[in-house]
Symmetry: C2
Subunit: 262 residues, 2 copies
Amino acid sequence: MITCADRLEAFAVPGLPLVGRGDDVPELVWRALVGAGIAVADGDVLVVTSKLLSRAEGRFVELPRVEPSARAVELGEQVGKDPRAVELILRESSAVSRQAPGVLVVRHRLGFVVANAGIDASNAAPPDAPPGSGPWMLLLPEAPDASAAAIRARVEAESGAHVGVVITDSFGRPFRMGTVGVAIGVSGLPPVWDRRGEPDLFGRVLENTITALADQVAAVADLVAGQAAERRPVVLVRGLRFDPSEQGAGALLRSTKEDLYA
Amino acid sequence: MITCADRLEAFAVPGLPLVGRGDDVPELVWRALVGAGIAVADGDVLVVTSKLLSRAEGRFVELPRVEPSARAVELGEQVGKDPRAVELILRESSAVSRQAPGVLVVRHRLGFVVANAGIDASNAAPPDAPPGSGPWMLLLPEAPDASAAAIRARVEAESGAHVGVVITDSFGRPFRMGTVGVAIGVSGLPPVWDRRGEPDLFGRVLENTITALADQVAAVADLVAGQAAERRPVVLVRGLRFDPSEQGAGALLRSTKEDLYA
């Protein structure tokens, strides 16, 4: 059972520090909620940017320390990218989906298709980066579903409420300009909402109505995080009602053989 | 200038009737706002489902009255679809992007890439459909940007507030399961939010940061409309701040030659 109230709200959870390697994210999220006096309720969804987790996991890489493979050098020449950055992209990927000048779209080891393996060069330096070091790159978190589950377990144990947790990143898309928030890790919230079989207004049966629920929740949070994503790394989305789900973000991925654009 | 408050809310505007051919949508939207006691404020975005407009524009087609062309018959055989439905899809499209059993992904005459030209078979009958008529199909609205502008003009004239209007549909996507709300008509709200050049936390310049603002607003509204999209055809999204824009939904479209998946 999934429903949405006729009102949805989304707000930044204040009080998260700038996270560095080794920080305990579930603990920090719970402390921020308590510190802000936010009483978590059934159906609340905590949306956490992947960058917060990447920083806590120490997924920083200093580019000059990367040794590019022969393939990375060749591909870098083809698309006009730093071969060390290409090397990182290839290490994070299972396949190259498309290449063009300045662009490498890959299938990430986590299964989704994303430009540059989601590796970020903005706000990518560790807190203890020596002056003059870098440039730094930040890889996506190791296991976003597991991270979502850990945050959920902590919040549910403390609050007694049934909540969802979504780990997000901003992805570009074929056909359309601009990035949107997408879910790369999910716990508790059903990632997709299958409404096939429900009757429509006139009693016909709805077709083609599987909603990408967790991706839309990620989009809401991306709007709230806005230009200050690093300062608003956790957003609470309130107004959904759902039975707890144990599906991860893989439920949002179309298999390659069912994908007309693979 | 675009910002998001640290709190975003989205709620269904109640009181919209089931719309039929010839209804005055700007008038109905304004009356619903007044009837619900909603005081429209600067930065509010009214999100209206394409289906409401399609119904008001009388975009109903009774399938048995469609005469399929030779090409529609041939394509229908190839993909296993009713040639009359294929005929409607082709009339609404400028090109076929992909075809597969049961699926026709096309470039719509309005520019976007969408399965089955966005033609809907759910809730597609006109209010005055004779018993035993149909099946009915509902085409997308004729000119969603113009419809958005007309609603905006009415609401702004009555309220004195600067608002945005987004006309939405639910689209599937390559790579990912499930549909998401997308903007097919926009007025007032900047469709994309170009943050390139803004400094990041550490003073580096942000790269690759064009946000698909209107698509994310559409996703918020899609969550609120939920399984009752026809009963919640208008959603108000509150919490954004933006200077009025005169760009339409075309700003969200990647040109074919810049699209690696075209």
